[in-house]
Symmetry: C2
Subunit: 425 residues, 2 copies
């Protein structure tokens, strides 16, 4: 039986283990994920670290973290090779012996059998566990996750080490399924947040509109953060129960809706503009088709990132050449000749064309110059037209996105603006 | 004049400063970028860290890093507010006084003037610099970057701290333009790498084919790493000159081309499959059109991520509904009825249809079930057909991607397979 000590956790550190992180081969998304989740659980994180699989440096980093925080969460170093020493190091620091865990062994053997593979001798190492460990099974890989609790020195404070596998698709399900319930029993507070989604003004403008509230509000707190072309206002409350925290947040969100920022709020807690678009259209029983030039498929890719979008999104075209605008969308050759591909007229005909060809209620389009080449003095890089077409006709909007400089950012902004047209009708 | 000490740098640590990192609001791409660049400069990084803007914790983290490594690179904490204390902390640790730097003040004033804004008093704080600092101007923001060199205690080893702004679009140009030349004068070795691009086998299979070489090669080293659906074999050499390192790497790449992995090598140093596709088609003067169902615009988005793709990529369709497959691509209603939308026949007609409508040399298509809904016992989630059409006819391929589980990964694999068809013809 694991001997759970269950003292309250007041602070945590995150330590990610792996040479590929030290070499910069991969970006450390695990640290951001875990930090966000711990913030949500009301456990402050004061430091994050990355080390390789060198035994002395790993041991030093783990010992330092445990000297400062109650909880250390590690990712990586649970694999089958002799380089993987996280468990052994943790056991040594908290004075535990390693022993063979038959249940873990059985699960690993099952994992291999289900894939028609044979377990190697190396993998048996993954069934060695510190005595008294709480084991969190891994359904997507061979390395079980685990927690151990203990003292760095006899009579010292109780420390907890939670060890998770490195690959995010293994780590995240274990964290959500097993680690969160484990940690929830060990904190005093619940933290609850909502994000108010804002589009059409930048972070600085949003901050100015909400400055008084941001300064005066301490619980809930009100803080802006920005994604490309979008601002979110995060409202976070800390309380003894989730219901209470939720009430506090909801009250504050209502107050935000009475500030000058109100006209720019398009949703609350939406993961993305496209998610809100799909939901709104579904609620109203409307369908959408998309014609893209400069965004080159990005809008449609984002719409179809959302599972089940097919009741709303019928399809569309990527018309990168002039001839494809004529053939696929029925844009008139005359319009292309007299106004050019990057023009309000062409964008409007693209939106109308795709709506009529696919028989949707709404058509949207983009046509512009994403750069870095292709700009002219009259139409510099960053000149983008977006259009929307309904049975009532077409509306177009001209964007000047040159200040964004790079192609990817210009394309993302143009896609956001094209989608946001739908909120306005 | 800055007093440059210019001792050789043998090890470095990276410390990223910012509450938004600690809260998990943003992913730490700076650490990966800097780690990759330092590896390229032959400077080993043994630890990375993240701290907030708490003065005691920042000071402790910086002091610890300097106790272990010759060089500390920080990002963040150079802003105009009183929370921003990186410079002051660094100056104190290496025994430097802060002074007002007129050149920095002038540049910050110019930055504001060029944007039609007035400099606030706060921004003047950004012109305060440690005495003897080497200043790297920032063309994209108000915080200049800087380096200082000195001893932690009198007579101790020389330590260097390089402080960079947090936003990547400010940090990266400074690092590439000023910091790399500064560091190049302070290392003994040059590191050079090439990546061999492999498609069609997994990491484990690639590793098995190259195992002997991976074990025996020490300089250059040979190491695999994997992206979604793609494996790269990185060959890295360390030498006193770049020319020598380059020769060593090229020799090793030739040896890899003689292993059983050879048939799966599609390029060397390609940033992506789509990049190689565009280049190959351009070399041969061929054009491409794309019809996507389950990948929903992802393939076209990826092709148009590449600036200047329009001479090769003409355009295409996203046909998410049956009727759009008929209207836009001319898929026969009979085919859809008797074989279904997810079938080799439909995929072939989509590829042919988009090729003929757009008048391209090659058409490619995808039709499948990305999930999580929509699967049936005969066609479970992950069933995807890809097709390619040329004047010589159509070829189709059936993929079983159920083991990948999530929608995004299934879509990415399907897009990779659709693009990789082009290598085979």
């Amino acid at each position: 039986m694991p001997d759970m000590i269950n003292e309250k956790i007041k602070s945590a550190e995150i330590l990610c283990i792996g040479t590929e992180l030290l070499l910069g081969d991969i970006v450390n998304t695990n640290a951001a994920y875990l930090a966000g989740k711990l913030a949500g659980l009301g456990i402050p994180v004061f430091r994050q670290g990355v080390v390789g699989d060198n035994p002395e440096r790993l041991r030093a980093a783990m010992a330092e973290s445990l000297g400062r925080a109650d909880l250390l969460i590690t990712t990586g170093g649970l694999g089958p090779t002799c380089d993987d020493i996280t468990k052994e190091t943790a056991a040594e620091l908290l004075g535990r012996k390693m022993h063979f865990d038959q249940m873990s062994q059985n699960r690993i053997a099952e994992y291999f059998a289900s894939r028609g593979c044979t377990m190697t001798e190396n993998n048996a190492k993954q069934a060695m566990m510190p005595e008294g460990a709480i084991i969190f099974p891994n359904d997507r890989g061979t390395a079980p996750a685990l927690a151990i609790e203990g003292e760095l020195e006899k009579g010292g404070e109780v420390k907890t080490i939670i060890m998770l596998p490195g690959p995010p698709h293994e780590m995240i399900p274990i964290f959500e399924g097993d680690v969160i319930p484990y940690l929830q029993g060990r904190t005093d507070y619940v933290i609850f947040s909502r994000n108010v989604n804002i589009f059409g003004i930048g972070e600085a403008a949003a901050e100015q509109m909400l400055r008084d509230m941001m300064i005066s509000a301490t619980n809930p707190t009100v803080a802006p953060y920005c994604k490309v072309g979008e601002v979110r206002i995060r409202v976070t409350a800390r309380a003894h129960t989730e219901a209470e925290a939720r009430r506090m947040v909801d009250r504050q969100v209502e107050l935000i809706k009475k500030t000058p920022a109100a006209p720019y709020i398009y949703d609350v807690d939406s993961p993305s503009i496209e998610d809100t678009v799909i939901r709104r259209l579904r609620e109203r029983g409307l369908t959408l088709a998309v014609a893209e030039s400069c965004t080159g498929g990005l809008i449609q890719k984002r719409l179809t990132d959302i599972a089940g979008c097919s009741d709303v999104f019928l399809g569309g075209c990527v018309t990168y050449s002039n001839s494809s605008k004529v053939t696929l969308l029925g844009v008139s050759a005359e319009t292309l000749k007299s106004h050019g591909a990057v023009s309000a007229q062409t964008a409007a005909e693209m939106a109308r064309g795709v709506r009529l060809r696919l028989g949707s209620d709404i058509g949207i389009s983009t046509s512009g110059i994403a750069g870095p080449g292709g700009g002219t003095p009259e139409k510099p890089v960053g000149t983008v037209y977006v259009a929307i077409s309904t049975k009532d006709g077409e509306q177009t909007k001209l964007l000047h996105l040159a200040a964004l400089r790079d192609r990817a950012t210009i394309r993302t902004h143009a896609a956001n603006e094209a989608l946001a047209q739908i909120f306005r009708i």
